[in-house]
C-alpha cells in the first residue's frame, strides 16, 4: 500500500518534469496562464504526448503481466502474441502505399493488423479450449513470419520511408494523437481484470491446480488472452513496438510487491506509466532538438535497473 502511494508520487513528479522540459524551456507559471507564450506548447503538445506515454506504458506492463501468467513463462512479453508483427506489417504497408499518413490511419491500420495477428494465433492455439502451452511456440513462429514480411518491406522501401519505418519499429510516441476511446477501454478492461484477481493468483500456480480449486480456468484464460490482445493492440497502434516495458515491468513489480494480483495490477499500471513517461522525456530531451525513438531508452534504463534488482533478491 505504501508502495502504491510512492509510485503515485513518483508518477506525478515525472509528469511535472515531462511537461516542463524539452527543446523550449518553459517556466512553470506558463501552464496556468492562457495568455502566456508557452501555454499551448504545454497543453497542446506535451500533455497529450505525456498522456499517451503513460497509457501505453500501463497497457504494455499489464499485458506483460497477463501473458506471463497465461503461458507460465517468465520470458513472455506482449509481443509474444505476434501482435507487434501483425501491427507493424499492416502499418508499414500503409506507409509504403502512402494511403494517407495521418495518425488516425496509422492507429487504425496498427489496430487492425494486431487483431488479425491475434485472431490467427488464437485459431492456431485453440483445440476445443485455449491451449496456453501452444501459444508460446505458435506466437514466436508467427512473429518470425511477420519479421520476414517487415524485412521485405524495408528492403524494398525508399530512403525517406525507411526512416519513419525504423522509428515505428523501435517505438515512437511522436506520431500519436490522443485517442479519446483508449482511456475508456483501458479502464473498463482493467476493472474487469481486477474483479478476477483471486482467480489470477490461483491460475499462476498452474491450470490444473486452478481447475481443482474451482476456478473456471478456460473462461479466465480466454478473458486474459482477449484483454492482453486488446491492451497490446492499443499500445502498438498508438506508439509502435516499444520493447522491454512488457517484459521487465511485471518482473520488477513482482520483485517489489510479491505475487498477488490485487497489488500487481495497480502497480503495473503505475510503474509502467512512470517508466515509459520517463523514457519518453529522455528521448525528447537528451539530444534535443533531435528526437530519438523511445524504445532505445526503455532498454537503456530498464536493463541496468532490472539486473541490479535481480541481484539483490
Amino acid at each position: 500500500m505504501r508502495q502504491l502511494w510512492f509510485w503515485c508520487a513518483l508518477l506525478a513528479i515525472t509528469l511535472v518534469v515531462a511537461l516542463f522540459s524539452g527543446t523550449v524551456p518553459v517556466p512553470l507559471i506558463d501552464a496556468f496562464n492562457a495568455q502566456a507564450p508557452h501555454f499551448e506548447i504545454i497543453w497542446q503538445l506535451r500533455w497529450p504526448r505525456a498522456l499517451n506515454a503513460m497509457m501505453v506504458g500501463s497497457c504494455l506492463a499489464v499485458a506483460g503481466l497477463l501473458i506471463q501468467n497465461l503461458v507460465k513463462n517468465p520470458l513472455a512479453d506482449p509481443y509474444l502474441l505476434g501482435i507487434s508483427g501483425g501491427a507493424a506489417t499492416v502499418q508499414l504497408l500503409v506507409i509504403v502505399l502512402a494511403v494517407g499518413l495521418s495518425p488516425t490511419s496509422l492507429f487504425l491500420s496498427g489496430f487492425i493488423g494486431s487483431l488479425v495477428a491475434t485472431a490467427l494465433l488464437f485459431k492456431l492455439s485453440f483445440q476445443g479450449q485455449l491451449r496456453p502451452d501452444k501459444i508460446t511456440l505458435n506466437g514466436v513462429v508467427l512473429a518470425f513470419g511477420f519479421a520476414a514480411i517487415i524485412s521485405f518491406v524495408l528492403a524494398t522501401a525508399s530512403g525517406q520511408q525507411i526512416k519513419s519505418m525504423m522509428f515505428w519499429l523501435m517505438g515512437d510516441l511522436s506520431f500519436a494523437e490522443p485517442n479519446a476511446l483508449m482511456p475508456i477501454i483501458m479502464t473498463a478492461l482493467l476493472l474487469l481484470l481486477y474483479r478476477h484477481h483471486r482467480a489470477l493468483d490461483i491460475l499462476a500456480r498452474g491450470n490444473l491446480f486452478a481447475i481443482k480449486s474451482g476456478v473456471d480456468a478456460h473462461r479466465i484464460n480466454l478473458m486474459v488472452f482477449i484483454i492482453t490482445a486488446l491492451l497490446t493492440s492499443m499500445a502498438v497502434a498508438q506508439a509502435g513496438t516499444i520493447g522491454f516495458v512488457g517484459l521487465i515491468i511485471p518482473h520488477l513489480v513482482r520483485l517489489m510487491c510479491g505475487y498477488q494480483h490485487r497489488h500487481l495490477i495497480p502497480m503495473c499500471v503505475l510503474v509502467g506509466a512512470t517508466f515509459l513517461l520517463a523514457a519518453d522525456t529522455l528521448a525528447r530531451t537528451v539530444m534535443s532538438p533531435m528526437q530519438l525513438p523511445v524504445g532505445i531508452f526503455t532498454a537503456l534504463i530498464g536493463v541496468p535497473v532490472f539486473l541490479w534488482l535481480n541481484r539483490k533478491v
Binding site: L208, F209, K212, S213, G214, G258, Q260
Partner: protein
C-alpha cells in the same frame, strides 16, 4: 453420496478402466489399491473434474458431475495431486488460503479456517515461509492443509502419504479418519498396513477391467493380496 455408474475412463484415447460401479458415502474412508498404471490417478482426477474424458455417470449428491459449475464442484470435491510443482514464492498461509476460493465467505472466516487447517496439519510454524523454501515433506503438508481448508464433502487424495515421515503419516491418517466421520475420504495408497488399520472400505483395481470393492475386513484377504501382487509383478 458420490456415485460412479458404469464408468469408462480414457487416457489419451486408450481405455484404462471400464464398467466401474462404486459409491462413496460420507462416513466412509476409502482406499484405492492397485498396480502402477492401472488407472487410480485417472479415476481420482476424473472424479475431481479435471479429467473430462469419460463415459458413464458420476453423480454427486444427485447432480451429474458435468452439470456442476466450477465453484459448486470445488465445494464438493477436494483433490490432492500426487505431485504438485511449486513455482511461485507464495507464503504457506497464502497457499493454504487459496483453498477458500470456492467459498464466498467473509475474510475473517477464511482466515480462521485457514489457521485451523495449518494447526491441524502441524505447520503453523511454517505459515510465513515461502513454499519454495520448504522440503518435499513440508510442501506435502501444505498441499494437504490446502485441501482441508477447501472443506469439500468429498476428499480425493492421490497418494497423500508421499514424502511424509512415519510419525507424520500416522498423524495425518488419524486426521483423515476423523474427517471421514462427516466427509467421504478416498485415497490412493500403496501401504496396505496403513489401509488395514485406518480405512473402512477398499476398492481394488486389478487391470483388465477387473475390480473389487467392499469393507476393508472383507477385502484385505490373503487371496486378494496375492492377486494384487501377481498383477503388480506381471509387469516385471
Amino acid at each position: 453420496m458420490l456415485q460412479v455408474e458404469n464408468l469408462t475412463l480414457y487416457q489419451d484415447h486408450s481405455k484404462v478402466l471400464s464398467g466401474l460401479d462404486v459409491t462413496f458415502s460420507p462416513g466412509e474412508f476409502w482406499a484405492i489399491i492397485g498396480a502402477n498404471g492401472v488407472g487410480k490417478s485417472t479415476l481420482l482426477q476424473t472424479l475431481a473434474g479435471i479429467h473430462p474424458n469419460y463415459q458413464g455417470n458420476i453423480r454427486v449428491d444427485d447432480h451429474l458431475l458435468q452439470d456442476l459449475d466450477p465453484l459448486s464442484r470445488a465445494r464438493r470435491m477436494g483433490f490432492l495431486f500426487q505431485e504438485q510443482e511449486a513455482s511461485l514464492a507464495v507464503s504457506v498461509r497464502e497457499a493454504v488460503g487459496m483453498g477458500r476460493f470456492p467459498w464466498r465467505t467473509s475474510k475473517s472466516q477464511d482466515q480462521s479456517i485457514t489457521t485451523a487447517a495449518l494447526e491441524r496439519c502441524l505447520i503453523t510454524h511454517l505459515a510465513e515461509r515461502s513454499i519454495l523454501k520448504l522440503s518435499g515433506g513440508e510442501r506435502r503438508k501444505v498441499e494437504i492443509a490446502t485441501c482441508l481448508a477447501q472443506q469439500s464433502r468429498y476428499l480425493l487424495l492421490d497418494e497423500p502419504l508421499n514424502h511424509l515421515d512415519l510419525v507424520y503419516r500416522h498423524h495425518i491418517l488419524k486426521v483423515f479418519e476423523s474427517l471421514s466421520q462427516k466427509h467421504a475420504v478416498v485415497m490412493v495408497c500403496h501401504d496396505l498396513e496403513a489401509v488395514r488399520s485406518h480405512c473402512s472400505h477398499v476398492l481394488m483395481l486389478f487391470g483388465n477391467n477387473c475390480y473389487l470393492s467392499g469393507t476393508s475386513a472383507t477385502m484385505l484377504t490373503a487371496e486378494n493380496k496375492q492377486r494384487l501382487f501377481n498383477e503388480s509383478s506381471r509387469e516385471l
